[in-house]
């Protein structure tokens, strides 16, 4: 009997996993003992880290898009469709547009994050973001013309994709405005929901003095409650009000609705064992990347490592061997600290991060990684 592995989501985690399985299970796939299906609701794969550079006019959204067909091994069945329901009892999936349901033996959820701007009144009208393609280009159009006033970056809630990106944005904006002789005319304020500037205390401790040095104002314990686009103010639940001329937000995030509907976790994040990545609430279901609630950052590097673990575990299970591979929380992150310098952190469940001194070399490493990402997605790197 053919064992059917279905992966939902052809972003970083799902694509790396599909290619990993094509490689690892080549004999079984050739013999028709295994089938791997990758379902994605867009025929193109999107590499989101490119969006950080779009507002500065340094990259175009198209630099972060490639046809999935070009990235995914031919041994994988690629299906461009949206999954609309998961029944973990009968191990079946429903699709949009009334296509017949499909059964699975193993299911992997790699559905990523969804932006939920509507949670905050006024956010959709008043706030810009670089967390979506259209957001990044809208912000670019505004930012390139911005020459004076109050620039506020507000992190609204966690978890959100790439916890380093808000820091990167203000560091880059500071440097970019300095280079253009505009920094004196622009005040930069960074807000964060808890009492420090980043969720991870070690990164927060490192970033805070850098922000002071660079004259970036900080408002902690700032949980945006509402935005008044007319008056150009943002107000927090804690009662602080800030004026802005240009507001950049990290909008609230959630997972996809079908996860909650399937009883796999709250807010669209799948409750998993943080080492095995197996769903807590159902058999034969894994989750990886942003959607897996492991407490580590929502980062592409995490999705990449987790895909390797799930690939090994699935191959073992399919071959009737005990699955022994586990995820240790490994996370890698480059953090841009300006337009031509970056830091780097590496950490896991046991070992905290210790940010490297910013250097030009690390900045180029980040750009080089962005270019070589397409090899990662193909499973070559």
């Amino acid at each position: 009997m053919t064992e059917h592995v279905v992966i939902i989501g052809g972003g970083t985690g799902g694509t790396v996993l599909a290619n990993d399985l094509a490689d690892r299970l080549e004999p079984e796939l050739d013999a028709g003992d295994v089938r791997v299906t990758l379902v994605n609701d867009d025929s193109e794969h999107v590499y989101k880290p490119v969006w950080l550079y779009v507002p500065f006019g340094q990259r175009e959204p198209d630099d972060g898009r490639r046809p999935l067909d070009d990235l995914v091994d031919d041994a994988v069945d690629l299906r461009i469709d949206r999954v609309t329901g998961i029944d973990t009892e009968s191990q079946r999936l429903r699709f949009s547009g009334g296509a017949p349901p499909v059964g699975y033996d193993y299911l992997v959820l790699a559905t990523g994050s969804t932006l939920e701007p509507d949670q905050i009144p006024g956010l959709a009208e008043g706030g810009y973001n670089f967390y979506s393609e259209s957001g990044a280009t809208d912000l670019r159009d505004e930012f390139l013309e911005f020459t004076e006033g109050e620039l506020v970056l507000s992190v609204i809630g966690t978890p959100h994709m790439c916890p380093a990106a808000p820091l990167e944005f203000v560091f880059m904006a500071d440097d970019w405005l300095r280079e253009r002789g505009l920094r004196e005319a622009v005040d930069i304020t960074y807000t964060y929901p808890i009492q420090r500037v980043h969720g991870n205390p070690h990164i927060a401790e490192w970033a805070r003095p850098l922000m002071e040095e660079r004259d970036i104002q900080v408002e902690t314990f700032f949980n945006a409650e509402s935005i008044d686009p007319e008056a150009e103010t943002i107000t927090s639940m804690e009662g602080t009000e800030l004026d802005y001329d240009l507001l950049v937000t990290i909008p609230p995030h959630g997972g996809v609705d079908l996860i909650e509907e399937a009883g796999l976790g709250d807010d669209g994040w799948v409750d998993v064992d943080k080492h095995t990545l197996e769903a807590e609430a159902a058999e034969n279901v894994y989750a990886l990347g942003d959607t897996a609630d492991t407490g580590v950052p929502n980062a592409g590097s995490v999705a990449h490592y987790q895909a390797g673990v799930v690939g090994q575990r699935l191959a073992s299970e399919i071959r009737g061997r005990p699955a022994t591979a586990t995820y240790d929380g490994k996370t890698l992150c480059f953090i841009e600290t300006g337009m031509d310098a970056a830091s780097f952190v590496e950490f896991d469940y046991e070992n905290p991060p210790s940010p490297a001194p910013p250097s030009e070399k690390l900045h180029w490493s980040k750009l080089a990684y962005n270019e070589s990402y397409w090899l990662t997605a193909r499973g070559l790197l």
Binding site: P159, I194, Q195, G199, F221, N223, M237, E238, G239, G295
Partner: protein, 78 residues
């Protein structure tokens, strides 16, 4: 044992910092003024995070109940 009535419980046991505080803030956000939220957390950091945030936000921390391996915080939304 406290016998404070509460409108909602947020079970953040097992979540890494700042998960419990963010879960509490999320629930307070969607609650009505006067609602009492009970937060369960086994994260040590919550013992400082939660009182600090409650004070800053003007919400009242009614009680902290200590159990063997977690704490229960009762927060009333202002």
């Amino acid at each position: 044992m406290t016998d404070i009535d509460h409108d909602e419980t947020v079970d953040a046991r097992g979540a890494a910092c700042p998960g419990p505080l963010m879960d509490l803030i999320g629930t307070v956000r969607s609650s009505e003024s006067g609602d009492v939220i009970r937060l369960l957390s086994d994260n040590e950091q919550s013992l400082t995070d939660v009182p600090e945030w409650a004070e800053k936000a003007g919400n009242e921390l009614l009680a902290v109940e200590e159990f063997d391996d977690y704490n229960a915080f009762y927060v009333e939304k202002a």
